[in-house]
């Protein structure tokens, strides 16, 4: 089961869908061989355009009818009713063909053709609607190839039955046999829908926005048309489907022209069709088993969509340069049909998966039935116009074709293959965008938003002003002056911190404002007096006499270690209010270095204002202590570029305490400049790895603000492989830790390390891939539903480059413990070599 990608719990449903597909493709292949021979033998290849037109018109009417009833009946009921209808009508057709008038009728081959065309479209659409409803993109990637194999096997068996029974003169049993198989399918479909209810993905909420199927109002053809028209992604799918159908029809015409020319005996022709269809499905089976999955895995969905048009372009070139005969016709038809059955079908169904259930329910039948039939009409008209333009005879809408015309048709095929390829490119890009849109970003970093919303410095100043009231009236006055200078002394704040706090009409605050002897603010003429106060204090502080006096005071305070902490705090605060040129400011270094965290923090705040380079070494030393770290970081942040040389030096100095270096990283993150990012990236590249988590987080923080800041690809790739290597090692080590009390703590620590590494890997990815997409993927993998996890992995699969994808996807892919262990061991080895 592992070989075909089936996981435990999926076996029954996968096999039922395999059987469902098998039981519709076997009769489909038989009927296709029968109706083609019937038409070509009785009316000739010239009847094909009219057959295509009639089939398209009738299918269009069926689509209209289908769009009316699809919301009134459940999908199960629709499928069963269609199966029974086609089985019963097939038997009626068989009876009609066997009558004398039926054998002579020129209309019956067209009816047969149209009936078979409608059967193919309806049954296939129903089958893929069922598959789409059940699986998410990751399950689809794993299982569609297996399920498609059921269809391919059905094609082989159907073709062989048609070939052998025709050779054995038992062709009359072919249509009744096909009808019996359709009836048998009814039971399989019932079992599929019973088991579907138990499948976890079917029960999960749809990831894309859109109402649930049950809540969708009854809609018809117009709604289906509008739902496609309004959605650019669906328009692209519809265009690709239409171009694919046109190309296939033209190729089919080339092929039937060649067979019509080659075979003179109807029995040989019918047997050939039987064996040919069986043969090409063998090729399709080979494609599906060995190539489809690998193409998708290696190239991703966005590039795999281009393979079919590119390959057909090559085949068309072969048809053009070689003499037109059955062999090149077989090559191009075989390629087209086997690719359509395998690669194209799988990729088309995967493309539908990110579309919301309700939207898909409206759009898919419209595209698969109506658009494809309309494209068939287009192809028939193209054939007619082409014939007319080349001056061929046209009798009652049936031109007389020859092999020369069929060969020249390759030019028209090429003309349609080119836009198909271009649209394929656009679909690939739009698929990734649709997957991206289908998962949501669950949270964003708040570092900047907190700073944007709050004036943290002023808030802290207010808290310190309140706190200073209990220490010293001088300190308190200086805080008030500070707030005044910053224009932050609003009436509310003034009331709250002033002596007249008792008047604040909040009784619970009464105990907060009980400091005595503290000057408040006179209530009259406030504005003028405040401005005067600021000017007066500044002037006083700049006076030589004041500086001289304060110098003496500072000398006393600093010389006597027993001097109170409060006096030092006052001095530190006062220095911060002075001009940087004032001689007293040189005393601040000693205050920064003071053993008291309160003194040190007042001094650090003053340093942040004065920004004298001589303070920087002392500030950096204060990064080591938890009680002064935040103020030291703030101070260095204020220095901006002036602090960069010292920060760079400290970051690279491995002799420094790790706490200091971590705080340096935090400071650089807050600076958030390109220069800071380069310094961090340099350390990430050259450093010993002990600061990796902090460095990656700091770079992530800078990138959150500045999207243009990107980690050099060389550094990112090297570091990513190193982190993935460490993750795999940690994961495998964790598996080896046995149970027991002692190992519990170790286990928890290892789990934490693993979690950190996982987060670091994604932050690093976000430094050189689109950050939002990587964050979305990470957040949904960590906290999403099974469906959103699948979409997140699909997004990564289509975003990351191949070498990176190969080491990231196994870390996140839903797999058994044994599978994961094997995958991680493999990555461990490859990253070691890298």
């Amino acid at each position: 089961m592992k070989l075909v990608g089936i996981r435990p719990g999926e076996k029954k449903l996968a096999f039922l869908l395999f059987a469902y597909f098998f039981l519709i493709t076997t009769p489909h292949t038989i009927i296709k061989a029968l109706r083609t021979t019937d038409l070509l033998v009785r009316l000739g290849v010239g009847a094909l355009p009219l057959a295509y037109l009639s089939a398209a018109v009738v299918t269009g009417l069926v689509v209209l009818f289908h769009s009316k009833i699809q919301f009134r009946a459940s999908l199960l009921r629709l499928i069963n009713a269609s199966l029974v209808f086609f089985a019963a009508s097939g038997l009626v057709l068989q009876l009609a063909i066997q009558t004398e008038s039926g054998r002579r009728s020129p209309i019956l081959p067209y009816i047969y053709w149209v009936w078979a065309s409608v059967l193919i479209v309806v049954l296939m659409t129903h089958f893929w609607m069922t598959v789409n409803e059940i699986f998410n993109p990751r399950e689809a990637r794993r299982l569609i190839a297996f399920i498609s194999s059921g269809g391919i096997l059905g094609g082989i068996l159907g073709g062989l039955i048609a070939g052998f029974l025709t050779r054995a003169n038992l062709a009359g049993w072919l249509l009744p046999l096909a009808c019996v198989l359709l009836l048998a399918c009814v039971f399989v479909v019932r079992a599929v829908f019973r088991d579907r209810q138990r499948h976890p993905s079917a029960a999960a909420k749809p990831v894309l926005s859109g109402e649930s199927q049950a809540e969708v109002p009854k809609v018809g053809f117009k709604d289906s048309y509008n739902s496609v028209r309004k959605n650019p992604y669906l328009v692209l799918i519809a265009a690709a489907v239409a171009l694919g159908i046109i190309v296939s029809t033209l190729i089919e015409f080339q092929f039937f022209s060649a067979t019509d020319e080659h075979f003179r005996n109807p029995k040989d022709m019918q047997a050939f069709f039987g064996f040919f269809f069986a043969g090409l499905t063998v090729f399709a089976l080979f494609m599906n088993t060995f190539l489809t999955g690998n193409f998708i895995k290696k190239l991703g969905v966005s590039l795999t969509v281009l393979l079919t048009p590119l390959f057909l372009l090559l085949c068309s070139a072969v048809v053009l340069i070689s003499p037109f005969s059955l062999l090149p016709a077989i090559l191009i038809k075989g390629s087209d049909e086997s690719l359509a059955f395998s690669l194209n079908q799988t990729i088309r169904e995967i493309l539908y998966i990110p579309v919301a259930s309700d939207l898909k329910f409206k759009a898919k039948p419209f595209i698969d039935m109506f658009i494809s039939r309309a494209a068939k009409v287009g192809a028939a008209l193209i054939l007619l116009v082409f014939a007319v333009l080349l001056n061929k005879q046209v009798k009652y809408l049936t031109p007389v074709f020859d092999t020369g015309l069929a060969k020249q048709l390759s030019w028209i095929v090429i003309i349609f293959l080119i836009p198909w390829g271009i649209i394929g490119l656009k679909i690939g890009r739009e698929y990734v965008r649709t997957i991206n849109r289908s998962i949501k970003l669950k949270w964003e970093r708040v570092d900047q938003s907190v700073l944007d919303e709050l004036d943290v410095d002023s808030a802290k100043e207010i808290f310190d002003a309140m706190e200073s009231r209990q220490r010293s009236s001088v300190l308190y006055a200086m805080h008030v002056f500070d707030l005044l200078q910053r224009d932050k002394l609003s009436p509310e704040i003034r009331n709250m911190i002033s002596e007249k706090a008792g008047e604040v009409r909040v009784s619970s605050l009464s105990d907060l404002f009980n400091a005595e002897g503290v000057a408040g603010f006179p209530e009259t003429d406030e504005e003028i007096r405040q401005e005067d106060l600021i000017t007066d204090i500044r002037e006083t502080m700049s006076l030589d006499a004041y500086q001289e006096l304060m110098e003496r005071h500072a000398g006393n305070v600093l010389a006597e270690s027993q001097k109170s902490e409060v006096e030092k705090m006052e001095l530190a605060k006062a220095i911060g209010l002075m001009s940087p040129e004032a001689p007293l400011t040189d005393r601040l270094v000693a205050l920064i270095e003071d053993f008291s965290p309160d003194v040190s923090c007042y001094a650090l705040k003053s340093a942040a204002r004065l920004k004298k380079p001589s303070y920087i070494p002392a500030i950096i030393r204060k990064l080591g202590s938890p009680s002064t770290r935040e103020d030291a970081i703030n101070a260095l942040h204020r220095y901006d570029r002036a602090a960069m040389p010292a920060l760079e030096q400290s970051l690279a100095d491995v002799r420094l305490d790790l706490g200091v270096r971590r705080a340096v990283v935090e400071t650089l993150a807050r600076l958030g400049t390109e220069e800071a990012a380069l310094t961090l990236a340099g350390e990430l590249d050259q450093g010993g790895g002990d600061l990796d988590t902090e460095l990656v987080d700091a770079l992530d923080r800078i990138r959150a603000q500045k999207d243009d800041v990107q980690l050099p690809a060389r550094v990112a790739r090297r570091k990513l492989f190193s982190l993935v290597h460490r993750y795999c090692r940690a994961f495998l080590d964790l598996q080896e830790v046995g149970p027991g009390t002692d190992s519990e703590a170790v286990l928890r620590r290892m789990e934490r390390d693993l979690e950190t590494l996982f987060s670091d890997i994604f932050k690093l990815l976000g430094l050189y891939y689109p950050r939002e997409e990587i964050r979305k993927a990470y957040q949904n993998i960590k906290t999403g539903t099974p469906n959103s996890i699948a979409y997140a992995i699909e997004l990564l699969d289509n975003t990351l480059k191949r070498d990176i994808r190969d080491v990231i996807i196994p870390l996140v892919e839903d797999s058994s413990p044994a599978e994961r262990q094997r995958a991680l061991q493999k990555i461990l080895k490859s990253t070691q070599e890298a």
Binding site: V450, K460, E467, S508, L509, D598, C601, S627, R752
Partner: protein, 113 residues
């Protein structure tokens, strides 16, 4: 300042006691304790201020740093039972614009869901 941790379902509640001041920090700061819980995979943190008399600028820094660390990881950090006087200062300083503050523990716990 003393900090005790307890847990209710998947919510970690820190009971804070005393004054959150730089001159009164114990072995581990509030932010360090919060980060430890985040490292253990817990994402819902409630700070109980019932027994907190006052905080200084260091305390404000610790609360904001804890808030940022928690929310950067997709978690939630909320405050409960803050005194009226502190609440008023939080309002005036506009900290209430960022921080979720609840009167009762029960209400705060429910708000996480």
């Amino acid at each position: 300042m003393r900090i005790a941790a307890r847990q209710k379902n998947d919510i970690v509640i820190f009971d804070l006691e005393g004054e959150i001041k730089r001159s009164d920090i114990s072995d581990m700061t509030l932010h360090q304790l919060v980060k430890e819980q985040l490292d253990s995979g817990r994402r819902k943190i409630l700070l109980n201020f019932d027994a907190v008399q006052f905080i200084d600028s260091f305390g404000v820094g610790e609360i904001l740093a804890s808030y940022i660390s928690t929310h950067n990881l997709g978690g939630k950090l909320k405050l409960v039972r803050i005194s009226k006087k502190l609440f008023l200062i939080f309002q005036v300083t506009m900290l209430t614009k960022v921080l979720d503050i609840y009167e009762e523990e029960e209400t705060a716990l429910k708000s996480f869901n």
